[in-house]
């Protein structure tokens, strides 16, 4: 992974000093609440329902074991002993003291971590495929491009006060969308043209929230070295012309809809053409410098399916299930990609304790070159595990409660912190997730259902990505009471690059207690309707919305 040089470290140290000074001036009453707000937000600090929340950046999900141990230290020292993996691959702490945040950031800087621009109306953490660099399908490893974007966006002098937040995601697997790029302000697809040159297909104006919109193509092929000039051009147009009168209409998607993507393209290209051959153009030397940080570790020469592994699978049904569900093919023979699910019953999705963090860091050192990834599905990944070690690793993960073989299944839910923590939420989301997990804990049933994305958001800001869940649940407030609206048919892309879709609302909302029954009715109808091997989404798309609606609400008279 990327290792800071003196310049990177100096910038981060200066940031720590800057925020320390800002906090001191705030506590001295020299900065007003309103004026401190964006300063703390751009250092990752929200003020939530009960306490501040600190969102630590995990650039494109990359972590090393020293960083994970530091996160454990922060959880133990400044928080209540646990951390939460967010849907944008970041790590959140729910209980730090505001006054301690500068010290936490100083501690994190020792391991090259920070909370820079994890909130606020600025360019946020760039996300990508959690399997980047270890799967054979990708055109190139997207992480160097993400790191280049990270550096360009960090303290960008012109774009610290945009109309609204700005999120970029990068996908590098042809025919798939492994980073939900259609749902981002800018989605970058790394592609190769007919001449074999690397470049980017750029989408603009996607996003969830109150007005969910899928991004549209603004550039079919952007040459590799033009990335930053193009990003500058898009965001400069947005910064000038994006709406600032209404925060719900301030995202770039609204500007793109208002102008039309063709007019947007004209404005961007006019600016881009002026910039593209300037000093801001990326160099092959810089691409090479950053790529050197992501070269393969020293893999051994091994073969797939060693005898120990085959034997263990035959002897142990639970291990074989876990292998099938949570372990993925690696590009290198004899290795495997292992997902650690953070979806145990009784724990909010994505939560992990300090002890687990320490133990996971040890596992990374022992089994996976000391590195880990966080995923937008709120899980962790050990990306480089030797197949001969899988059985031993599984046993350890089982004792940590991180071997639930449900990756991609119903109970591998995405869920925002909701009304238990978040001041914005209309409703709680964690208890709904727990009730559904408890109702559908039978592994045979979950396996029989197959892959289903169930996404839960506690309000229409959509941090739980409910619009793109095959089943989406949205918390709503009705006269001070919490209700839940269900939508069906959403999809975030995944294995089908053109398969993204937004869910359609099923009908009137439900009380929280009713939710497990509602989900059960939907699932029963799916099981009843499916023919061999059809997924939930395939059945929904084939039979349509109305039959599902009738299955839940009954037929109209």
């Amino acid at each position: 992974m990327y290792v800071y040089d003196q310049y990177d470290q100096q910038l981060l140290n200066e940031r720590v000093a800057q925020f320390k000074g800002q906090m001191e001036r705030y506590l001295d009453g020299k900065i007003s609440e309103e004026e401190f707000l964006p300063l703390r937000l751009q250092n990752g600090i929200y003020v939530q329902r009960y306490a501040p929340m600190l969102r630590v950046a995990v650039p494109y999900g990359a972590l090393n074991s020293a960083q994970v141990r530091k996160l454990a230290y922060v959880a133990r020292t400044y928080d209540k002993g646990y951390a939460h993996i967010s849907t944008r691959q970041n790590v959140q702490f729910n209980w730090p003291e505001l006054e301690q945040c500068p010290q936490i950031l100083a501690d994190l800087a020792e391991v090259q971590m920070h909370a820079v621009q994890t909130s606020g109306n600025c360019i946020r953490n760039t996300t990508t495929d959690e399997y980047a660099g270890v799967i054979a399908e990708e055109i190139v490893d997207p992480r160097p491009y993400c790191e280049i974007i990270r550096q360009w966006s960090t303290f960008h002098p012109e774009f610290a006060f945009l109309p609204r937040k700005f999120k970029i995601a990068v996908n590098a697997v042809p025919g798939q969308d492994r980073a939900a790029i259609t749902m981002h302000d800018i989605g970058i697809n790394i592609v190769k043209n007919d001449a074999g040159d690397i470049g980017y297909r750029v989408l603009v104006g996607g996003g969830l929230g109150r007005t969910p919109i899928l991004g549209e193509e603004i550039c079919a092929f952007l040459p590799e070295e033009d990335l930053l000039a193009y990003l500058d051009a898009v965001i400069r147009v947005y910064n000038q012309f994006g709406r600032r009168d209404n925060k719900y209409k301030a995202r770039i998607k609204i500007l793109v809809k208002a102008l039309g993507v063709d007019r947007m393209r004209e404005l961007v290209e006019e600016e881009f053409n002026r910039l593209k051959d300037g000093e801001g153009k990326l160099t092959q030397a810089e691409l090479e410098r950053v790529k050197q940080h992501f070269i393969d570790p020293e893999y051994k020469t091994l073969s797939d399916n060693p005898v120990e592994l085959t034997a263990a699978k035959e002897e142990n049904k639970a291990f074989s299930r876990w292998m099938e569900r949570n372990v993925r093919q690696h590009k290198k023979a004899g290795y495997a990609v292992v997902t650690l699910t953070l979806k145990q019953i009784g724990t909010p999705p994505g939560d992990i304790t300090a002890e687990q963090l320490d133990q996971v860091a040890d596992l990374a050192d022992e089994y996976s070159f000391g590195e880990l990834r966080s995923t937008h599905n709120q899980n962790l990944v050990l990306a480089d595990v030797e197949q001969t070690e899988l059985f031993g690793l599984w046993q350890k993960l089982k004792s940590l409660g991180m071997a639930t073989p449900t990756l991609g299944l119903l109970t591998d839910m995405i869920c925002c912190p909701g009304g238990d923590f978040c001041a914005l939420a209309n409703a709680k989301s964690i208890p709904v997730a727990e009730a559904i997990q408890a109702r559908f804990e039978n592994l045979d049933y979950l396996w029989d259902l197959g892959e289903i994305d169930l996404n839960i958001s506690g309000c229409m800001n959509a941090c739980g990505h409910h619009h793109v869940g095959n089943i989406g649940v949205l918390g709503v407030d009705k006269k001070g009471e919490e209700f839940y609206q269900v939508s069906l048919g959403g999809n975030s892309g995944g294995n089908d690059a053109d398969g993204s879709s937004l869910g359609k609302i099923l009908g009137p909302s439900f009380a929280r207690e009713a939710m497990p029954d509602v989900i059960a009715k939907i699932l029963d109808f799916y099981v009843d309707q499916r023919t061999d091997g059809e997924s939930f989404l395939e059945v929904y798309r084939r039979v349509g919305h109305t039959p599902f609606k009738e299955a839940v609400y009954g037929k109209p008279d």
């Binding site: 900065i31 550096q151 960008h156 002098p157 012109e158 006060f161 930053l228 910064n239 000038q240």
Partner: protein, 148 residues
């Protein structure tokens, strides 16, 4: 009264004839021969006056709220696209924690809001030693400076 500063410290204001963009567009000819300051609001984007920029000794860009970031792009476009070489002043809600960004986008004087501590603002101009991006003062991003 705002405190007028540059990156070194307090500066004396120079008297110029002030015109709004509307006045300029309506009666350009009447200002001939005068030393002018153009005042623009945050929703007046640089494309509306960039071609005329050379007519002004000073252009003052208003930040109605510090969180309104349009002025950064206006400044940058004036310097880099329209090659404006006169004085560029940030006025309005100009606060300590934004002046570093303003400097990089091409402002050279700052009408610091009166409650802001001047010494803290001067110190803030050197918040970061080697930023990643190119800016108005150095067209090379860090990746070109790093290798040199």
């Amino acid at each position: 009264m705002a405190n007028l500063i540059n990156t070194q410290g307090p500066v004396q204001d120079t008297e110029l004839t002030t015109v709004t963009l509307e006045q300029w567009q309506e009666e350009k000819a009447s200002f001939a021969g005068q030393s002018l300051e153009l005042t623009v609001s945050s929703d007046q984007t640089a494309d509306l006056f960039g071609e005329d920029a050379a007519n002004f000794a000073r252009i003052s860009i208003d930040f109605p709220k510090f969180a309104d970031g349009r002025g950064y792009s206006a400044a940058r476009l004036l310097r880099e696209k329209y090659k404006y070489t006169g004085e560029l002043r940030a006025v309005g809600d100009v606060l300590i924690d934004q002046v570093f960004f303003m400097k990089r986008c091409g402002f050279d004087t700052y009408a610091l809001r009166e409650d802001q501590i001047v010494e803290d603002a001067i110190a803030a101009f050197s918040t970061f030693t080697n930023p990643y991006q190119n800016d108005v003062h150095d067209q090379r991003p860090l990746f070109r400076r790093r290798l040199s």
